[in-house]
């Protein structure tokens, strides 16, 4: 018999309370219980990155965290990041450069890329590739993904240099 626990968390800025089976991972909880299907389930053992979401401000593998562990945390998914407009420029660049084909990897890729952009540091293509190394894409061959991230990073750094706001 599964054990259940009551949890409350902040999800994309809004409070959520639910009762979860303790063995359920965070992505299954979001997808099946809350209907947030933007976080994808690929390998379910930490390798592919399709489930990447944000926990307390940092990118994390949703399949490597139990839903019960999100109790008291702030969780953000691709739905929340899209709604807030935080990565609108990155999403436009992905479309403009064809950085997605089937789109299965895209939510996870965007969340990892958002963390890269959030650091506000200049990075060359090799550093971008190293930063993105935990997110698999079986379609694009990565070139266009790196293009889109590089272009967005450059644009943000240029904007920050002209307004002095540190790239955010």
């Amino acid at each position: 018999m599964d054990e259940f626990v009551d949890i409350s968390l902040t999800l994309n800025g809004r409070p959520v309370r639910r009762r979860v089976p303790v063995r359920q991972h965070l992505v299954d909880f979001l997808r099946t219980e809350l209907g947030l299907t933007g976080s994808h389930v690929g390998c379910e053992h930490g390798v592919c990155g399709a489930c990447t979401l944000r926990v307390d401000g940092r990118a994390a593998r949703g399949c490597l965290m139990l839903a019960v562990q999100a109790d008291g945390c702030s969780v953000e998914t691709i739905e929340g990041l899209t709604e807030s407009g935080e990565i609108a420029d990155l999403q436009e660049a992905f479309v403009a450069r064809n950085a997605l084909q089937c789109g299965f990897c895209t939510p996870g890729v965007l969340i990892t890329a958002a963390e890269l952009l959030g650091r506000g540091q200049p990075m060359d293509r090799a550093a971008i590739r190293a930063f993105m190394s935990g997110n698999y894409c079986r379609c694009t061959g990565y070139q266009a993904i790196v293009d889109a991230i590089e272009a967005t990073l450059r644009a943000r750094l240029e904007r920050a240099a002209s307004t002095g706001d540190g790239g955010r």
């Binding site: 054990e3 303790v22 063995r23 990118a59 190394s133 935990g134």
Partner: protein, 288 residues
């Protein structure tokens, strides 16, 4: 790929966690960053009766510099180590190794204590602990004991830790002036587990290396100090020819077997390559 059923407990103090372990009779498993245990649960390699989530035990996390020792709490995540000025200044070997550990999202959650507890033979942190002569603090209801890294790693995923013990912290000697380090690993892609790697430290005296310690990882069933090969370097000197000759002795230090990364001969070849390159990087760093 779903975890099996278990009982979940989330203690908020070390005391409470130790009580659970003491009563569990070996049927409990600790959940730290989950970056290895969660996959093991999904694949049903692990199926504990009780899962003890230590993430809400604040006393297990943090980095402190006390005298000449850096003490790192087990629950300290890789990302905290990457950001730490104490690590950057006093543990340059760890700072060099960190970018090679997995990927950003995994470094945001994974802990140093988890890595030292799991004792994956290809992991970076155990090798650094061995090269630096770290002391591992193990706590149970009956008290605290310290185990030197050389006596701690016993075999494939096997350590000196007992089931009722929690790895509470690891203590590293802070780098002294005149010491240097080198780190090199071969992997298929950035962030993948190493095919082979070497982490080394030494004192530099008048251009010569003293007390060279080279910890090899991904070369045996556990991290291993290449004592014979390091002694050869001290004896022969540090020219590329001398390093190559010293690396030839590695077969006496490590015993790779055939595995998915290659047959024993290929893996011994990798070991020689990473040994030479790590020591060369150590030398390079002393030339400023």
């Amino acid at each position: 790929m779903k975890a099996p059923s278990f009982r979940y407990v989330r203690p908020t103090s070390l005391e409470e966690a130790l009580d659970v372990l003491a009563q569990a009779d070996g049927q409990a498993q600790i959940l730290a960053g989950g970056q290895s245990l969660m996959p093991m649960l999904a694949m049903r390699i692990a199926a504990p009766e009780i899962l003890v989530d230590i993430n809400r035990i604040p006393e297990l996390a943090g980095i402190t510099l006390e005298n000449d020792l850096v003490r790192i709490g087990a629950l300290t995540r890789y990302v905290e180590l990457e950001k730490s000025s104490v690590v950057a200044e006093h543990l340059p070997l760890i700072a060099r190794a960190l970018p090679h550990v997995a990927h950003v999202a995994i470094r945001n959650r994974g802990t140093i204590g988890g890595s030292l507890s799991l004792a994956d033979p290809a992991a970076e942190m155990p090798a650094c602990a061995l090269a630096l002569g770290a002391e591992i603090e193990l706590v149970s209801k009956s008290g605290v004991r310290s185990v030197g890294a050389e006596d701690y790693f016993l075999g494939l995923y096997e350590t000196a830790r007992q089931p009722d013990e929690i790895l509470a912290a690891v203590r590293f000697p802070a780098a002294r002036s005149g010491s240097a380090c080198g780190f090199y690993e071969l992997s298929r892609r950035h962030g993948d587990f190493a095919l082979a790697g070497a982490a080394c430290t030494a004192r530099v005296e008048g251009g010569a290396l003293k007390d060279l310690r080279v910890a090899m990882f991904g070369c045996d069933d556990r991290p291993v100090l290449a004592k014979k090969a390091a002694a050869e370097v001290e004896r022969r000197g540090t020219s590329p020819e001398a390093l190559a000759a010293a690396a030839e002795v590695l077969a006496e230090d490590v015993a790779p077997t055939d595995n998915v990364n290659g047959d024993a001969e290929t893996r011994l070849h990798y070991a020689k390559v990473v040994f030479r390159r790590a020591v060369a990087m150590l030398l390079e760093s002393t030339r400023g």
